[in-house]
Symmetry: C2
């Protein structure tokens, strides 16, 4: 018997930001596989097996989930946010590609969710109101020169830039280097937002400028948004108009 | 008495992809303001006023919503997808900036939702698995040269590219021109996905390549994803590995 695997995202944190489709997919699973703090967001169901793991072992976790599904289990891989954005879905397909050919026959699907940058944007207004890009500052799996090239291109073409994984204990320097690079292209007055724990009850916003931005304000739970040339404040809100001249 | 205004997104279409927070915000409103087809996704509540409008009148709709809130109503502005991504939130803040100063005192907030590119990505696997950008091909509010500059920068820096508003009856030519430009930078074998009505019961995917992509496959309900150099097929799925070499 062959099982199934669904890759879901809990959304940013608050229970009412998880979609009903994701809630149902989790409830129907026999096995949940995920990083401990994400599993902790999911109500316990009697008889359901929980396989919690460390955050940095995505591929091991993906293989474990696929092996469980191949053994006939109904598996839900639980990410935060949206599973397709800097989360578990790509890791699962990497594992499928490099793994047991029988995994190709599995019923695998992805449920979309609310990714961190959308929750962060909603906390402050509408900073993603025009063209934008999302860049992970983690150089665990790609070179720092690739990241620099993308930051520079995004700044020169005047995208709003959402920075995922801006900092961690093991990577304290990347965000400061990114700000330094962006300052060579974007104006010092460009709005910069540090949104910590967006979409949770502990959400906290620091609104500053590129010239004044201190990378020390970011940690693993922070999403950083760097504005476009048009991004600005109106009243208590920050937004980017849809076009060049609203 | 001064009212409130919440800007929400219904998600891509299926009722179970709307967050409970959005559902609750809509239920608590006295007045709903939105484009007709989005309002049609929302259950009718007796006594609640519905103000449906044409899709192209975003600023008029935003002003109407703000005037209702200023008159003491509890207003929900209803977008599709996420309200902060090529939807109503930016239009509301544009209207606040240019409008009646009393609007600055309103209680305005944004509820995040599942935007189209996340639902489209989930239909096919994990094509947004690495750094990506989102570009609206509508040149109603920005110049076509700005769009070309962003397409070129995104291609050269090897982002995955999600194209919103790829085509409409009034704008039939933009997507073909965008493909032509992208072909000057990206390889012809780059995966291209046309995902129509993602996150609805009528979802339909055309998976092709940049070399073979026919812009005629896109309409107003289509989200187009153009892969990065690493985007590829594994089994029935398309995904972008998290790093350069998975």
């Amino acid at each position: 018997m062959i099982g199934s695997l669904v890759i879901v995202g809990t959304g940013p944190g608050k229970a009412d930001l998880m979609t009903p489709a994701t809630k149902a997919a989790i409830a129907q699973a026999t096995d949940l596989v995920g990083y401990g703090p994400y599993l902790a967001r999911v109500p316990v169901i009697q008889g359901q097996c929980r396989h919690a793991s460390d955050n940095r072992l995505e591929l091991d976790r993906a293989r474990h989930a696929l092996a469980l599904a191949a053994a006939g289990r109904k598996v839900a891989v639980v990410s935060g946010g949206d599973p397709g954005v800097f989360a578990m879905a790509a890791a699962v397909f990497e594992a499928v590609e490099a793994g047991d050919p029988v995994w190709h026959a599995l019923d695998i699907r992805v449920e979309p969710g609310v990714t961190a940058m959308l929750a962060a944007a909603a906390e402050v207004g509408a900073p993603l109101g025009s063209d934008f890009c999302a860049i992970s500052l983690s150089d665990n799996l790609k070179s720092w020169s690739t990241i620099e090239r993308r930051l520079k291109a995004a700044a020169e073409a005047d995208f709003v830039i959402a920075l995922y994984n801006p900092a961690s204990k093991a990577r304290p320097r990347q965000l400061g280097e990114a700000f330094a690079l962006l300052r060579t292209v974007k104006r010092g007055e460009t709005p910069v937002l540090f949104v910590r724990a967006a979409g949770t009850a502990e959400a906290r916003v620091i609104a500053t400028t590129l010239g004044g931005a201190d990378a020390a304000h970011a940690d693993m739970r922070t999403l950083v948004i760097v504005g476009a040339s048009t991004t600005r404040q109106v009243g208590r809100w920050i937004y980017t108009p849809r076009g060049a001249r609203p």
